[in-house]
Each structure stands twice: as structure tokens, then as C-alpha cells.
């Protein structure tokens, strides 16, 4: 009885022990499975983080690329604006220079009432500012209604014949009052009746003379914008300066003649 009871208890204990063993094995398997699962989850999480970071970086790169593109566009825009400003600056500078030339020419023309000095200034302007090598300055002789050369450069004024108004190129310019520019200004001609440029000197619509250019300096190959402005200035301002200085000189001469008579009359009774 005691022996049977001991064997029964030992069997029970063995059964419990086996169950315990199976339970432990189950726990170990479950543990293994969970560890595997955990590793999987960790790996997934890790992978998911990298992807998220990659996504963030991709967004940053896109933003930076957009920013770079916009900066490049702005840079190009600013560069264009700079180019535009630079060319405008050059234009303004050129215009300033041209205005300075015109101012100086005008200032000099009206700086004196001496007829011969005005003629010298006109010659200086045509040589130095326009670049003419050979030219003549004709004035209308009121008595004969002909053009007479009163000053010249590169040729003697006495070599330039009188021109009847309306005849030949110079006469026609004097009659019609319109400037003449040859198509080929480089072709130099010293023939008095074949100028390459003819500028009428006008006070309003009244022509008082003509500047006829026969050749330009070797370095002068074409006319620029300011040359035409100078021609216009000469047409008006030189005409006024020449006309007023001529009148002034004539009146001075008359005044001195009258003064001479007066002095003579004053002196007479004393004798």
C-alpha cells in the first residue's frame, strides 16, 4: 500500500515534471518567436526611419533646388538689369559728351562780336569737332546776290570761285536751304563745285551763307549722331553769330567814320 502510493506519487510527480518541461519548452519557443518578431519589427522600424529621413532629405533637396533655380533666375534678371544700366550709362555719358561739344561750340560762337574771330571759331569747330580737312565758308554778297568764300581750310578762299545762288550744288543749297550729304563721304574731291557736304547757314528761313566741305580728315570715316547735331547747330548759331558780328563790325566802322567826320567838323573852326 505504501509502496503503491509512493509509485503513484512518483508518477504524478513525473507527470507534473513533464508538463513543466513542456510548458518551459513552450515558453522558450514563444520567447524565440517573440524575439524574432521583435527583430523584424525593429528592422521594419529602422527601414521606415531611413525612408522617412530620405523623404525629408528629398523634400529639402527639392526646396533647395527650387530656391537655387529662383536665385539663378533672379541673378540672370539682375545681370540683365546691370547690362541694361551699363548700356544706359554709356548712352547717357555719350549724350553728355555730345551736349558738352554742342555747348562749347555754341558758347564759342557767341563769345565775341568780332567778325573775323567768329569766322575763325567756325573754322575751328568744323576742323576739330566735325573733322573736316578741306572746306570753304561762303557768305551771300547782298549786292550781287552771289556766294563769296570768306574763309577756308585746306584750300585758299581766293581759289574758291563765286557761286550764283541757285546754280550748282552750293548755289542750290543756298537757294533751297536744305543740307546736302553725299552718299560717299569718304570720296574726297577738291573741286569747288563738288562738295561732299553742304550746310546752309540760316537765320529762320533766310540763308546768309553755306559751309561746303570737300574732304574729311583721314581718320574720319563716317558721320555720327553728334556730327548732324553740330551741322544743325552751325546752320543756326553760326549764321546768327556771323550775321550779328558782321552788323556790329559794320556799325563800328560807320561809327568810327562818323566820329572822324565829327572830329573833323570840331577841328575846322579852330583853323
Amino acid at each position: 500500500m505504501e509502496e503503491g502510493s509512493i509509485i503513484k506519487k512518483a508518477d504524478e510527480f513525473l507527470q507534473v515534471f513533464k508538463k513543466g518541461e513542456e510548458f518551459t519548452k513552450d515558453i522558450l519557443r514563444e520567447n524565440e518567436r517573440l524575439r524574432f518578431k521583435l527583430a523584424e519589427v525593429e528592422e521594419m522600424l529602422a527601414r521606415g526611419g531611413e525612408e522617412a529621413r530620405a523623404g525629408v532629405y528629398a523634400n529639402r533637396i527639392k526646396l533647395l533646388e527650387d530656391e537655387l533655380k529662383s536665385l539663378k533666375e533672379r541673378f540672370m534678371q539682375v545681370e540683365e538689369e546691370n547690362k541694361d544700366f551699363a548700356s544706359k550709362y554709356l548712352e547717357v555719358e555719350e549724350e553728355n559728351n555730345n551736349l558738352a561739344n554742342l555747348y562749347v561750340a555754341s558758347y564759342q560762337l557767341h563769345s565775341t562780336l568780332d567778325f573775323s574771330e567768329v569766322l575763325r571759331i567756325v573754322l575751328e569747330i568744323v576742323i576739330n569737332l566735325i573733322g573736316a580737312e578741306c572746306f570753304g565758308l561762303y557768305l551771300v554778297d547782298e549786292k550781287t546776290n552771289e556766294l563769296e568764300a570768306v574763309a577756308a581750310e585746306g584750300i585758299s578762299a581766293s581759289e574758291l570761285p563765286r557761286v550764283v545762288i541757285g546754280e550748282g550744288l552750293i548755289g542750290k543749297v543756298a537757294k533751297e536751304g536744305d543740307s546736302y550729304f553725299s552718299e560717299n563721304i569718304e570720296a574726297s574731291s577738291r573741286k569747288p563745285d563738288e562738295p561732299i557736304v553742304c550746310i546752309p547757314l540760316k537765320i529762320k528761313e533766310h540763308v546768309i551763307g553755306v559751309i561746303a566741305i570737300y574732304s574729311l580728315l583721314v581718320q574720319k570715316r563716317s558721320f555720327s549722331h553728334v556730327d548732324y547735331e553740330l551741322f544743325n547747330l552751325l546752320a543756326g548759331h553760326a549764321a546768327t553769330a556771323i550775321f550779328s558780328s558782321k552788323l556790329y563790325t559794320q556799325s563800328e566802322r560807320k561809327l568810327s567814320t562818323i566820329q572822324g567826320f565829327l572830329d573833323l567838323l570840331k577841328d575846322k573852326p579852330r583853323r
Binding site: 558738352a100 575751328e124 569747330i125 573733322g131
Partner: protein, 122 residues
């Protein structure tokens, strides 16, 4: 303040060059009507640069250049010729006797101002 001596017999050109030199910062223009006048002005003023015409009465620009270069006191002063003489041999001649640069008339103001600025900054 750099002193620029403008040697030119034509009042129009003198005024025009003096006008252009206003654009050279802090410069002062001294005017002379010919070579002899220029030598007088040179001796009484400290001149940093000379702008000279060639065809002038009394003493022309070429004679002035050779006299300036012959004087040790003025030897280093830059000289720019401004002239109507556009032939290559005229230019070579002026440069061979001591001119530093040669410009022909009608003078381009921007070119002149730049050239003067370059010489004065050296």
C-alpha cells in the same frame, strides 16, 4: 590733386578738353596756348600730365615733347598728343620722341578721359 596741362592754340578745343577733364576726379586744368607758354606753365606749376596739340604757333607740340623729355625734371610726365594729323608716320614720330599716347581729332571724350585716368593711376 593731379594737375593737367592742356596745350592747345584753339580756344574751342581748350574749352572742350577742360570740360572733359572735369570728369577726372579731383583734377585741376592748367591751360597753355602754345609750346612756349606750356614750358612757362610747367616751370611754375607741378604738372602730372600733359595733353598737347601738334600744330600750334610759336612752338609746336613735337618740339615741346622733345624739350620736356630732354629735361630730367619733367622726363616722367606722361604726354598725350591730340591732333588732326591722322597719318601713321605722324603717330610713330610723336611716340618715338617721347609722347606716351596719340589721339586724333575729333577726339572721343570717353576715350580721352579713360586714357588720362589710366596714366594718372600709374
Amino acid at each position: 590733386m593731379p594737375n593737367i596741362l592742356v596745350v592747345e592754340d584753339s580756344p574751342t578745343m581748350r574749352q572742350l578738353i577742360s570740360f572733359a577733364m572735369r570728369r577726372v576726379p579731383a583734377s585741376k586744368v592748367i591751360e597753355a596756348t602754345d609750346g612756349v607758354d606750356a614750358l612757362k606753365k610747367l616751370s611754375s606749376n607741378g604738372v602730372d600730365l600733359i595733353l598737347a596739340d601738334i600744330n600750334m604757333p610759336v612752338m609746336d607740340g613735337l618740339k615741346l615733347v622733345s624739350l620736356v623729355r630732354g629735361n630730367p625734371a619733367y622726363k616722367e610726365i606722361p604726354i598725350i598728343m591730340i591732333t588732326t594729323e591722322g597719318a601713321e608716320e605722324d603717330k610713330k614720330r610723336a611716340l618715338s620722341i617721347g609722347a606716351n599716347a596719340y589721339l586724333t581729332k575729333p577726339v572721343q571724350t570717353q576715350q580721352l578721359v579713360k586714357l588720362v585716368g589710366d596714366f594718372l593711376s600709374k
